[in-house]
């Protein structure tokens, strides 16, 4: 990336309020002239948002007095120059910008766990994959009668790549 002086900070947010805080932060920074240029809410990062700013984020600033905003993430990682920074590198942020479809890593026969919906917590075996619709057909392992269940690719988590 070209040498811009923008830094990316991670902010701790009450779970479930990420989008609201991002919207409010955007509105407030527009009004108060804080150098925030973008607010990112990655789906995979619950309870945190990433803020791109040209100025250092000061939690004492009234622009950051937002409900559900818990504070800035202090990292203790020391860089090569032995400086303590709270910023996230752009390389780390890049992987949130282009989330890879989960479905591409799923194979037929994999053992997965359902993470949402009526069968949350159940384990299932992948029977069929519909890549265009990002759906998978599963068969619940613990069910007495095998019933095919169709779920969206983001509702499952892979436990075992491929069963025997």
């Amino acid at each position: 990336m070209e040498g811009s002086e923008n830094s990316i900070y991670a902010l701790k947010i009450s779970a479930g309020q990420e989008r609201n805080v991002a919207r409010m932060l955007a509105r407030k920074s527009k009004d108060s002239g804080v150098g925030v240029s973008a607010v990112l809410v990655p789906e995979s990062l619950k309870g945190y948002i990433l803020v791109e700013s040209s100025t250092k984020i000061d939690m004492q600033n009234p622009a950051f007095k937002i409900p559900h905003l818990r504070g800035i993430v202090e990292s203790k990682t020391k860089g090569k120059e032995d400086k303590e920074e709270n910023t996230v590198t752009f390389e780390e942020v890049k992987k949130f910008l282009n989330p890879e479809p989960i479905i591409s890593s799923i194979q037929k026969g994999s053992i997965v766990e359902l993470i949402s919906g009526p069968f949350k917590g159940e384990r299932a075996k992948v029977v069929r994959i519909d890549e265009s619709r990002e759906e998978v057909v599963l068969e619940l392992i613990e069910a007495a009668v095998p019933i095919p269940v169709t779920v969206k690719g983001d509702q499952i988590r892979i436990i075992q790549k491929e069963a025997d």
Partner: protein, 60 residues
């Protein structure tokens, strides 16, 4: 009103068609991004976003 994201430019709106590029929108989207200053944002440059506003990261 349900938020919908444009299938082409990923801009979030409540309309059936994107107000900017007139492509159809989808209610199945994930990830959320607010661009305030696209000229000074590395994130906006990476995603080729030129207009400030709300965007989704992934639209199905």
């Amino acid at each position: 009103m349900a938020m919908k994201a444009c299938t082409s430019c990923k801009r979030i709106s409540t309309k059936e068609r994107c107000p900017v590029c007139n492509n159809p929108t989808s209610s199945n989207w994930s990830g959320f991004l607010v661009i305030i200053d696209p000229d000074n944002s590395d994130i906006a440059k990476e995603l080729h976003i030129e207009l400030p506003g709300e965007y989704a990261l992934r639209v199905r």
